[in-house]
Structures are given as C-alpha cells and as structure tokens.
Amino acid sequence: MWQFFHKLGSPRWFYQISSSLLPWLGVLSAALIITATVWGLAFAPMDFKQGNSFRIIYIHVPSAFLALAGYYTMAIAGAVYLIWRMKMAEIVLRVAAPIGAVMTFLALITGAIWGKPTWGAWWVWDARITSMLVLFFLYMGVVALAGSYQRADLGSKAAAILALVGTVNIPIIYKSVDWWYSLHQPATIKFTSKPSIHPDMLWPLLLMIVGFYLLYAVLIMLHARAEIVQREQRTRWIQELAK
Amino acid sequence: MSEALLSTQNLSCERGYRTLFERLDLHIARGELLQIGGENGSGKSTLLKVLAGLSSDYSGEIFWQGQAIQSVKEQFQADLCYLGHAKGVKQGLTIAENLRWFCSLYPCDDSADAQRKVLEQLQLYRFRDHLCGQLSAGQQQRVALARLLLSKARLWILDEPFTAIDKQGVAEFEEIICQRVSEGTAVILTTHHALQLAIPHRSIVLGAKCP
C-alpha cells in the first residue's frame, strides 16, 4: 500500500501513466463536450422565461463547479506536499492554480454574458457571482505568492499554506456572501433561485459537467507533464525520451 | 570517548543542482570543539542551520543524545544556543531588555549578579541601558556573545562569531570559549579567523575533494 503511494509521488511513473491515459481521457472529454454542446445549443428546448440565452449555463455551470473543485484539488495537493513532501503533489499544486483561475474567470465571463439578456446588466452583484469573484482573487493570491519566492520549493510550500487558509475560509466566505445578498436585495425578485430544470435541459448539462471534469484532468496532466520535463531535464530518462 | 551529544548520519543537502555536502557523518560530544571550514558558498552556514533545526531541506538523520532529533525537539532546543549570521540583537531595545527577553525564551542564568558579571567581562556593563542601535557593530556582536554566556545550553552552534570584533576582542573571546569547552560545553563554529585555541579541537572542511 505504501509502495503505491510512493510510486504515485514519482514524476517518472506519473509521466508514463499519463502517456497512456491521456489519449483516452482526451477523446472521451472531447466527445462528451461536443455532444453536450451540440445537444444543448441546438436540440434542448427553449426556456420559458429566458428564451435562448439560458444556454450559456452549459458553459457557466461546469466551469463554476470546476472553479471550486479546482481550489480543493489545489489545497489537497498542497496539504499532501506539506505533510509528505511528495514531488508530484507540488507539481499538481503549481499547475492547478492557474488552471483553476482560468476556470473561475470563464465562469465570471459567462456569468456576465448570461446576466445581460436576463437581468439587463453586464454585472450584477448576486451571491454566486460575488463569491466567484472572491474565489478568483483567492486563486490569484496563490499564483502570485508562489511566484514571488526565489526558491521554487519554498514558494510552493507558502502557496500550500495559503491554499489551506483559503480552504478554511471558503465555506465562511460563501455563507457570508449568501447572507449578505439576502440582506440587501429587494424582496420581490430572487435572482439566485434556480428554477427547477427540465430533464431535457438537464441531460446535456450533466454530460457537459462530466466532460469538463475530464477536460480539467486532461489539462492538469498536460501541464504537469510539461512541468516534469522541465524540472527533471537533467535526469537520464528525460534525456532518453528526448532522443 | 564520551557519548556524542549531536551526531549525524548520511547528511546531504542540495541546492538546485548543486550538492552542498553529502554523506556527512559528524558527531560532537561534551567538551569538544568542532570547526567547520570551507570557502565562501561551500555550505557552512547551511550546515549550521540544518544542525540547529532551522532548515528541513536535507536528507539523512540527525541524532541528539542518540535519539532522532524530531522526537526530542524540545529538549534539544533547550540545550542549544545558536548564533547565526544575523545576530538577533534588537536595535530598538537596550542591552538589558534584549537579555531579559532572551532569558525568558531560553534556560539561562538570569540572576542580576550573573548578568552583571557577563556584561562586565565583555565591557558592556556601562552601556546596559543604551539602545543597541546606538552601539558599534563590535559592541552589538558582544551583546550576542553575552547571550551565549548567560545561556545554560550544552551545545553552541556559532556562525562567524568573531565578525566585527577587533584582535584583542577575538583573543578574549577565544579564551572564553576555551574555558567553556573545558567546562563541558560543546561548540560547533565556522569562522574565517585563524583560531588560536589552547584546547585540542577538530575541524572538517566542506567542499574539499575526497582523496
């Protein structure tokens, strides 16, 4: 059992495993995303209230899920790195931060695009978007902190600590923002209530979510592989690979 | 041979692609003095930080009185007095205040008598209520040495303790070290000065090529 974890931490083993997994994951995620996109954009029925503009949820919701899941991935990798000094954990921590930040940004942009036809404004301070914005800054803090140290391994340790501090805070932040929104918004309109979704709209959404999770895994693997090649460039197995 | 206080096994340290030292097995017992030599950048300060427990960037084992150092951290730290490159002398406090703070953190002989004796020995007694920021570099170094003399630690790890001290001061301090070592303190130090010590001592040189 220990051996399995030990192997998990070895960059070389990860590189080899990801070489075989990547084509499958890539094809599967592409298939799911394309299917779900076509289904959602062309074939799902129009929404009663929002017309066609609701279709942006097919990108907005998955990226929002991943923004949060990505933060926890990053934090868990950070914790593993701090406790067990696993090299792969450090690499995952480092690559997950910018990927997660981009996901969050995507969620914010698509949220704004959704907002314009629905509520008439490009930006509305509702609870979900505000929480997403705070999450974006949490990500950027981790990215900036990791890059500001001269020694990379210490920068990763500091970033791991910050990610863990953020993890403790995220539930508190989300709850506070939720509550803040309910305090300040007029009682008549409820922007954040999710209308019960028709199954014909739900299926493409679920496929899209799974597709996005797989896409996230693909992105992490690709970036991690690049990072591994760069870090281990002097080792023999990389040099053999290059030949 | 008396039992070793601090010993290492297979100690190695890498910085980036450079190996600073590897497979280092050193040991020091009560009443011994070990000098670590080597050129600038050979890893002397890093080794001292690793031994003191300030850096965890190493592989290998360190033992305190035969036990793994992680398991006896508190006892080790109670018996260690570390003097790094940055002397830890607070400029905004007086000598007396600096020493009082230090004695609250570490086991010290902090009676008023002992403090007075040590300060007089280092010619600092007159300045005990002066802010350390107003003292010369040599005097501030001696404040750091005063801490050493007050502490009850059995192991001293000193990184360049003679910086900024004039020749006579160095000779006086060498004498103090010799006296303490003969009373049982173990000392590990690095220095650029050519030491003239009246006691037998060992030295290792980092970065030396193996024959």
């Binding site: 949490l138 | 940055a86 607070k90």
Partner: protein, 226 residues
C-alpha cells in the same frame, strides 16, 4: 522561565518596540483619516449621502488601517535574526506568536476602535450606531489583525510585499466586513445587532486560535530560505 512569563516578556518587548516607534503606529491611522477625507471629496459633502454609506465606509477604513498596520509585522525580526531565536526557543512558538499578535492588536485594531467615533462624526454616522461601531471594531479587528499577520508571515521575504499582502489578505477579509458593516448598519436603523456582533466575536476567536499555526509554518519556511 515558564510559558506565561515568556509570553508576557514577548508582549512587553513588542509593546516597548512599538512605543519607541510611534510613527509606525500612527501612520496607518493617518492613512485611515486620509481615506476618510477622500470619500466626501468624491461623493459630495451632503450629510444625507454620507450618512447612508457611513457604516460600510467606516468599516472599510478600519479594515485598510489594520491591513497597513500588519504589513511588515515580522519583517524586522526576520532580517535581524530575532525570528530564528523565537523559532528555536524551547517555548512553543504558537503561544509566543499569539502574544505578538496581541501586542500588535493593541497598537492597531484596538486604537482604530478607540478612534472610530471621531471618524464616525466626520461621516455623519447616526449617534445611535456609535456604540455598536466601537464594539464591532473591537470584536472584528482581532480577526483583521490575525489574518493580516498570516499574509505578513507569507510575504516576509518578498520585495515590495505590501501589494502582494493586500492581494492575499483582502479576499479573506470578506466575511468580516460583511458582518461588521451589517452590525453598524442595523444599529443605524435602530435594529438589534447582537447576532452580528456574536458572529464577529466567533470569527475572531477562530482566527486567534488557528492563525498562529499558519504563521509559524510560514515563518519556518522563510527562515529556511534565508
């Protein structure tokens, strides 16, 4: 050489140092007043509009003041070697750091709370809310100082770490400002703000207990690097 006396000496030492560098304590407060000056200049001096935003504004000013005050709380000790002494002490660093945070809170958050009625007058906060303003700042500034200190510990060896500090710390301040300004807002509308004050107190307690762990870890990393 007990833990209690070590903490007391730490507190005493930090307060002595702060007392000898009064400008370091005064500067963040002056900044706070400067910001208080900028808002009427930007929003117009009409009492009605200022009174409307006063609760939130006062909390933002207090928050920024605490943030600036915690920037560099560990810098000097890091650079002159005192931090190594603290970390190598047989006394648990957890409590020593807590004593230091206490000293810094007394010199920053506590003073901001004391001075807040003056700022409140300048921004036309209804007098009914003054008491709650003071109380909310007293209870909430502890978490502000603690969280700020985590950022300071992480950026202690970073050049121009002040901006990075703000980026790291401000998202974490979100819950505190939400409930802090809500408390003052409720009081200004003659409603009960006890619940908000209780939440602020809870957050501060959580911060006080958890933050020294993160700070010690961050400081050890940086001492390792130097």
């Amino acid at each position: 050489m007990s833990l209690a006396s070590a903490c007391w000496q730490m507190l005493r030492r930090d307060l002595t140092l702060l007392a000898r560098r009064k400008m370091d304590v005064l500067n963040p407060l002056l900044f706070g007043f400067l910001v208080a000056l900028l808002f009427p200049l930007g929003l117009g001096p009409a009492p009605a509009s200022l009174a409307l935003v006063a609760p939130g504004l006062l909390w933002i000013i207090a928050l920024l003041s605490c943030l600036w005050a915690t920037d560099g709380v560990f810098d000097e000790d890091f650079h002159d070697g005192s931090l190594a002494l603290i970390l190598l002490s047989p006394q648990p660093a957890y409590f020593l750091i807590m004593a230091r945070l206490m000293a810094h809170w007394l010199a920053s958050g506590f003073i901001v709370a004391l001075v807040s009625p003056v700022l409140a007058l300048m921004l036309y906060l209804p007098s009914e809310a003054m008491g709650v303003l003071f109380l909310s700042l007293l209870l909430g500034s502890a978490s502000l100082v603690c969280i700020g200190a985590v950022g300071a510990a992480l950026t202690v060896n970073v050049r121009n770490g002040g901006v990075l500090l703000s980026l790291i710390v401000l998202p974490l301040y979100v819950p505190v400002i939400i409930f802090g300004s809500a408390a003052v807002q409720a009081a200004a509308q003659l409603q009960d703000s006890t619940a908000y004050l209780a939440i602020l107190a809870a957050m501060s307690l959580l911060a006080i207990v958890l933050v020294p762990l993160a700070i010690t870890a961050a400081l050890r990393i940086n001492v390792d690097a130097a």
